[in-house]
């Protein structure tokens, strides 16, 4: 069997988790590689969690929040976005490819976007191979 990446997805309770529920209701099929962790807001995700996931063998991490401007907590997703920029920059420092991390926005009624996001990161990471499989020093 080929390489099956493990993806951790942090989904906010209000939009993306609900969209994932809806994807189920609509019986949309998507890669089985993703494990969803429910958070109240994408802004709740401490960067430490992303690094922790990668260092424990996650091949990719995705944070899914509400569309910018539609955060259930005013601007939590903007905070998440600011953090994401930090994470993306720092991933290089910690020896991970930035492509292993992604943040995306979708509403509770957009399971199709969720499926696209899940499929997207799974396929991308599948091509990259397992996390840290490469010689870090190049």
């Amino acid at each position: 069997m080929g390489f099956e990446p493990k993806i951790i997805a942090f989904c906010c309770n209000w939009c993306s988790y609900a969209a994932a529920d809806l994807a189920g209701t609509a019986r949309m099929q998507y890669p089985h590689n993703v494990r969803i962790i429910r958070v109240m807001c994408s802004g709740m995700v401490h960067p430490e969690l992303v690094l922790d996931a990668l260092s424990h063998g996650a091949d990719g991490v995705i944070v899914l929040g509400c569309h910018l401007g539609e955060c259930h907590y005013q601007d939590g997703n903007r905070k998440a976005l600011a953090r994401s920029e930090v994470i993306t920059e720092l991933l290089e420092d910690f020896g991970y490819e930035t492509e292993r991390y992604e943040i995306s926005w979708l509403s509770s009624s957009e399971p199709d976007r969720l499926v696209k996001a899940f499929t997207g990161i799974t396929e991308r990471v599948r091509k990259m191979g397992p996390v840290n499989a490469r010689d870090l020093a190049g």
Partner: protein
Amino acid sequence: MAVRTVLEWLNSCSGCEIAILNIGEALVPLLTRHLELVHAPILMDHKYLGQRGDGTEFNIPEAEVGLVSGGVATVEHLQVLLQMREKCRILIALGTCATHGGIPALMNGQDRKEGWEGVFQTRTTDPGCSVPDVEVPAPLDRVYACDEKVEIDLFLPGCPPNPALIAEVLMAVVEDRDPVLPHKSVCDTCPVIREGKGAVSVVRRFLVNAEFLAEDPIDRMRCLLEQGFMCMGPVTAAGCAGGGLPRCIAARVPCRGCFGPVRRDGNQMLDMMNALASNGSDFKSVVDRRSLLRFSGAHGGLRPLRRKSAAERG
């Protein structure tokens, strides 16, 4: 009965040992009554392989407690550390180099080969020199904190560590109790005025003085981070405080982070950058962010930048 004690230093500058001296008056009863120093390279000439260097067994005497300063950068450091672990019932990592790699672990952020060549082959002064492969112990792939190689019973970070805390730890061992050590961040004992960091849009280097009135006490000064200076206080372990005030802050200088991360497995750079971004500051205004790990580059905190493949470079 006095507690058998050994001191060792690995990749160390002897600052930690000076900190022991700085315990001051309390050192006298410690040395004369409570501790029996059976091995301490800084004080006595005790060779590892016999006094004539003809032994075959690595020799550090057994002891109740061992203090080890410095990180692990070479094969020899590692050998010594393993010996220490074997011989000491309680092994204490003394100083930030031992606990988090310290300044030498800045090396971890670079390619090791290039780093060593830089050290031994400064072409302007040493034309034709090469990295020695005899006499100098072989380097490890990077600089490690002690707990990455052996189990450590007690961590006492600081660059240098606080003499009062060294005394507390030693007395705790003598009295067979848990030492009372701070576990919060530098801010815990920092009395400055704090209101929130939301107004900081960019972070400045400490090239100009902070704003304060010289006649005012420290607790009338605005938080240095809130003044826009890169103060590492919130992400740095407390312990430096003497007379109740963090040392650098007492001098109205931002915290440099020398006690390492506030949570032992924390990451000062990540935490600081995250805190800034969360507060809406432009994290890109931080000059040389990797230097935020200047004291805690071990534990994989600092790594050489990943070389991008040809495809990634485009």
